[in-house]
Symmetry: C2
Subunit: 246 residues, 2 copies
């Protein structure tokens, strides 16, 4: 379980992008990322400082307690953000989707580790570079600030869920929030993709894998959802909302 500094990027595919066809101007996630507040001129300045970085399923972008040498925009794919207890118990702090920014906390060391749940494409900025950019561009700092504040309210939602909700409420609430997140990045459907495994869901919701499986089965039997390979079809979202009791 040891994670070296930079280990993450050893097997990853790095690409210093020049003013080519995958520059910032063509970035798929620009409108939903922190970069949305930057002008075209500013984006050109950014291009030289960023690298594209691709991870395969299971690879680690950065590890817990590892020096935070960079921050990332997620362009494509899904990552799992986890924190470990010394005895091996694991808490998934969240899942990062396209448009999300990794490294908001920007401490000396990463407080979580980030692992790819499938193929992932990211845009990497060195820590020093990024600090200099935010220093020079107050509106970017404000955008980042707004994002952390939003993350904080999400964390509070999760604290309420972990502390005061039953297993069934947790699972129902999780499916709905995932649907909403996918909707916000353009992937709008009654069928919600589940890029993470049952164990990841369990560690996110403070449950065991068996309980998650049982609750999904129960919702399926009640025709609230339909379990499909790789995801879930929400048949009765209204009932889920009632269960989630938000």
């Amino acid at each position: 379980m040891l994670v070296d500094t930079g280990a993450c990027e050893r097997n990853a595919h790095v690409c210093h992008h020049r003013r080519s066809d995958n520059g910032c101007g063509d970035c798929k996630v620009r409108p939903i990322s922190v970069c949305s507040v930057l002008s075209l001129v500013e984006l050109e300045q950014l291009e030289g400082l960023s690298q594209h970085l691709t991870l395969d399923k299971g690879q680690t972008l950065f590890g817990q307690d590892e020096p935070a040498s960079a921050v990332f925009n997620v362009i494509e794919g899904c990552l799992r953000l986890t924190r470990l207890l010394p005895d091996g118990r694991r808490q998934v702090m969240g899942f990062a989707l396209p448009g999300d920014f990794l490294g908001l906390a920007l401490q000396e060391r990463h407080s979580v580790s980030a692992e790819a749940l499938g193929q992932v494409k990211t845009c990497r900025f060195g820590r020093e570079d990024f600090a200099a950019i935010t220093e020079a561009k107050p509106h970017l700092l404000k955008s980042l600030h707004a994002r952390v504040r939003y993350e904080l309210t999400l964390a509070q939602d999760q604290m309420l869920l972990l502390g005061r909700r039953t297993a069934e409420e947790k699972v129902a609430s999780f499916l709905l929030s995932l649907r909403d997140r996918f909707a916000r990045i353009g992937h709008n459907s009654v069928t919600v993709e589940l890029p993470m495994g049952r164990q990841d869901m369990a560690d996110y919701l403070g449950l065991t894998i068996e309980t998650v499986s049982r609750m999904l089965s129960r919702l399926d039997r009640a025709h609230s959802i339909l379990l499909v390979p790789g995801g879930v079809r929400l048949l009765d979202a209204a009932r889920l909302e009632r269960l989630a009791a938000s």
Copy 2:
């Protein structure tokens, strides 16, 4: 449980402080508050925009979902930050101590309600005024940004605690973290004051009041702690650390 806008300040003692003996220059919590990054000149500008506001035990500073019309520095006392589920279940998101800043999330509406656990003194800034100040002073924005980022890692700690720790670990961990927080604001002692009731601790840790009471009794019988009126004396902090398993 209805909370009117401004209801908070109806019964509170408001004091527009002028360049008197309790101006920003003499502020007890300045070195540990967000204001620590401001120069004396800037503090003078601030004084006209701030009000002192005193609450008695049980009074509400602001309520959940109430429009966020102001932000606050806590000068003295302790507040409870809570979020409510429609059915009445409650999660305490945190406790605010002197030097803490309330309203960091700075959304349209407050995501939590803040209630005084004893007599509380705060320094109030109108939302518009405060937005203008941060707009004009980038270093204040950076200081606020650093604070939210820190809050976010604290929230992650709490998520790990809520999701993956046993009742005993939760209580032990809570006592230690409270000791550390008091230490950081100058109140350094083996006897940890508990300004909140058992129910508040329970709602913070995702437990019931009975379980909190039982765990405290168990730690007391094991001579790890000594229950004293209004607080706890930590007799064997090392054992607590081991229990907390951080």
